[in-house]
């Protein structure tokens, strides 16, 4: 059952692991913020990831043009009346950002008009997001069909990069870089800016924060949208690597869950460490014990639950 791997393979697996961990961080940092700060158990987080990826692959086909709308399978025909009009050429990262913004908008609408009505009621929130995730999954299956889509790696990031005597695939290194940059940016935002201070105040004591003139309600919409957008951005960035297929949402959601339980809810550092840990386990597990690789992913979570229920970096909440 156990398969041994050599040094060369282990080296490649390690870089894949960190790249996968980087994607997991993009997914789970938003989940952690939404769950940890706002106490919303957002079971449609995997759907945001998948939806972003699907938006991305559709835009990558044609660039940011009206033709991209027409190229969406099945419903694209409705846009045939539009003239061909190009706003921007197909640039991978630009499209990832735009896709993130689109999904952030959807997230904001969901928070504002559906979740807000259920303020503080966790169970109805769970069921609502679960229901919406089914709706999104089925709509995606309807529009983008059951076939997997895998966009090409952006041209400027193909090839390998050399560190000393070792060669690494450039795109995976780039994903790690992106994840680290976003981690630092998020940390700076939450811990060092006025906006971050306002969010933390709104979480700790919403009433007093309101009295002080902080628009808590708008801030929460913003945090939710940010989390949704990050997941969608991660979905596009991960698409050349993971590909996009029906069921991607259900594959990613439990991963976000274990990362957050492992790292501690609401902790960005926890999400980062947890993501890389799960990335390593996933890749090495798949190479060494393919039958049980999925189960192995959950072992650290179970250990943490038994030994340190608040997570590795979580504050213990009284």
């Amino acid at each position: 059952m156990l398969r041994y791997i050599g040094f060369e393979e282990a080296r490649l697996l390690a870089i894949s692991s960190f790249a996968y961990g980087g994607l997991l961080f993009l997914l789970s940092s938003g989940f952690s913020l939404i769950f940890g700060l706002m106490r919303i158990p957002n079971l449609m987080h995997g759907s945001f990831f998948m939806l972003g990826a699907y938006f991305g692959v559709s835009m990558l086909e044609k660039g940011l043009t009206t033709d991209a709308l027409k190229a969406i399978p099945k419903i694209g025909g409705a846009f045939n009346f539009l003239p061909s009009f190009t706003i921007l050429p197909p640039n991978f990262f630009l499209i990832a950002i735009i896709s993130g913004l689109l999904v952030a908008g959807i997230g904001a609408l969901v928070e504002r008009y559906l979740l807000r009505r259920l303020n503080g009621q966790e169970l109805p929130q769970v069921l609502l997001t679960l229901g919406l995730s089914f709706v999104i999954a089925d709509l995606c299956l309807m529009i983008w069909t059951g076939d997997p889509w895998q966009p090409a790696t952006p041209a400027e990031l193909r090839g390998v990069v050399q560190f000393g005597t070792l060669f690494f695939p450039l795109y995976r290194v780039a994903i790690i870089g992106i994840a680290v940059v976003i981690a630092v940016a998020l940390w700076l935002m939450v811990d060092w800016t006025r906006l971050g201070a306002m969010i933390r105040a709104g979480v700790d004591d919403p009433q007093i924060a309101r009295v002080c003139g902080i628009k808590v309600s708008q801030l929460f919409t913003l945090v939710f949208a940010l989390g949704a957008g990050l997941a969608a951005f991660g979905g596009v960035v991960g698409a050349p690597y993971l590909s996009v297929y029906p069921g991607l949402d259900a594959d990613m959601l439990p991963l976000a869950l274990i990362v957050v339980i492992l790292g501690g809810t609401g902790s960005l550092l926890g999400a980062l460490v947890g993501s890389f840990l799960i990335g390593l386990l996933y890749n090495f597990g798949q190479a060494m014990v393919p039958d049980l690789s999925y189960v192995i992913l959950f072992l650290p979570m179970l250990l943490v639950l038994v030994l340190r229920p608040q997570g590795l970096f979580g504050r213990s909440i009284p």
Binding site: L114, L128, F134, A137, V295, V306
Partner: protein, 337 residues
């Protein structure tokens, strides 16, 4: 099902007797084996929903991992039958293994309540799905396992639709009676106590954790039984049974019917099974419909269908007799406190 108000015992009893008589004679007036099979499905899912309701409704503990337990029972029985064991051995082993798994689930998930409990059970359920799907050398992966025979207790064959229906009905009635006994027992009362006032129960000297643990095992037992009914009904099991979707559908049965009632999950199972069969025969988009029902119920009828209809019935009854409707008693929901 009867929606008679609790105060009118005679009305309620008559309605229950009529319902039971209808269920007992169902194969004779339905005739078509397709509809008899759908009735069997409703009853077996009702057992599953009742089992989940012990935790969700009476314990205030929302589990999204029960599909995992359901599948463990099914897979254990299927694997043992595959290995050449008899039905009795396979079924008993399936129940024992599922009870053991329930104990593990409970020990891990009961470290937390509320949303933590939900997330942990969700993750545990996914582990079972992962084993069923990826450990192909054991579970045959995506292709699933076939069960070639149904058991024949005391030489009675269960192959026909009516015979299987009566078996399911028998199990369902036993399940319902034990549920009624459980709810009325001191354990059931203390479980509701831990749902509404865990700290007070603790202060009164009750072991809150142990009460919840026993409730989890009780729920796990009936989940195992419904899992066995399921594999004997379908004579096939595959990984999607263990997936989040099954847990979610069962939770919707409990919630749409109304939590913490015994009729609720049964009505919910009937509504969902009928809808699934009707919708699936017209369009492929069952998931879409399921999701939309979820959203609509949560947004407009959060109390569930049975309490909702009961409330309307009471209001209508009182108006009919020219009385002012009694003010609705404040109920502590399964997720309150």
């Amino acid at each position: 099902m009867s929606f008679a108000p609790a105060g009118f015992i005679t009305v309620r009893r008559v309605a229950l007797a009529i319902t039971f008589a209808l269920l007992l004679t169902l194969p004779f007036w339905v005739g078509n084996s397709y509809y008899i099979n759908i009735s069997s499905q409703i009853l077996l899912y009702a057992v599953f929903a009742l089992a989940l309701n012990v935790l969700v409704g009476y314990g205030g503990l929302v589990s999204l991992g029960h599909a995992g337990l359901f599948a463990i029972a099914g897979y254990t029985a299927a694997l043992l039958l595959d290995a050449g064991h008899g039905h009795f051995v396979a079924d008993v082993a399936a129940i024992v293994v599922t009870l053991a798994a329930s104990a593990v689930f409970a020990v891990l998930a009961l470290r937390s309540t509320g949303i933590g409990f939900l997330m942990i059970t969700l993750a545990l359920g996914q582990i079972v799905w992962g084993i069923a799907y990826r450990w192909a050398s054991l579970t045959n992966g995506d292709n699933g396992l076939k069960i070639t025979t149904r058991p024949s207790p005391f030489g009675l064959s269960l192959n026909g639709a009516p015979a299987f229906y009566y078996t399911t009905l028998l199990v369902f009635v036993v399940a319902l009676v034990t549920m009624i006994l459980f709810v009325r027992s001191p354990l059931g009362a203390s479980l509701r106590g831990t749902r509404d006032q865990p700290r007070r129960m603790n202060a009164l000297g009750y072991n809150v954790w142990l009460i919840r643990f026993f409730a989890f095992l009780f729920s796990g037992f009936w989940t195992a039984v419904s899992g066995l009914l399921f594999i004997y009904y379908n004579q096939f099991i595959s990984p999607p049974i263990a997936a989040l979707q099954t847990s979610a559908e069962t939770l919707l049965m409990v919630i749409s019917g109304g939590t913490a009632t015994l009729l609720g999950p049964i009505a919910g199972a009937a509504i969902l099974v009928i809808m699934k069969n009707v919708v699936s025969s017209y369009i492929e988009r069952w998931n879409l419909v399921l999701g939309i029902i979820f959203v609509l119920i949560i947004t407009f009828m959060p109390e569930g269908l049975v309490p909702g209809v009961t409330r309307l019935w009471r209001k209508g009854w009182s108006t009919l007799r020219g009385r002012k409707p009694e003010p609705e008693a404040r109920k502590t929901g399964g997720h309150g406190s």
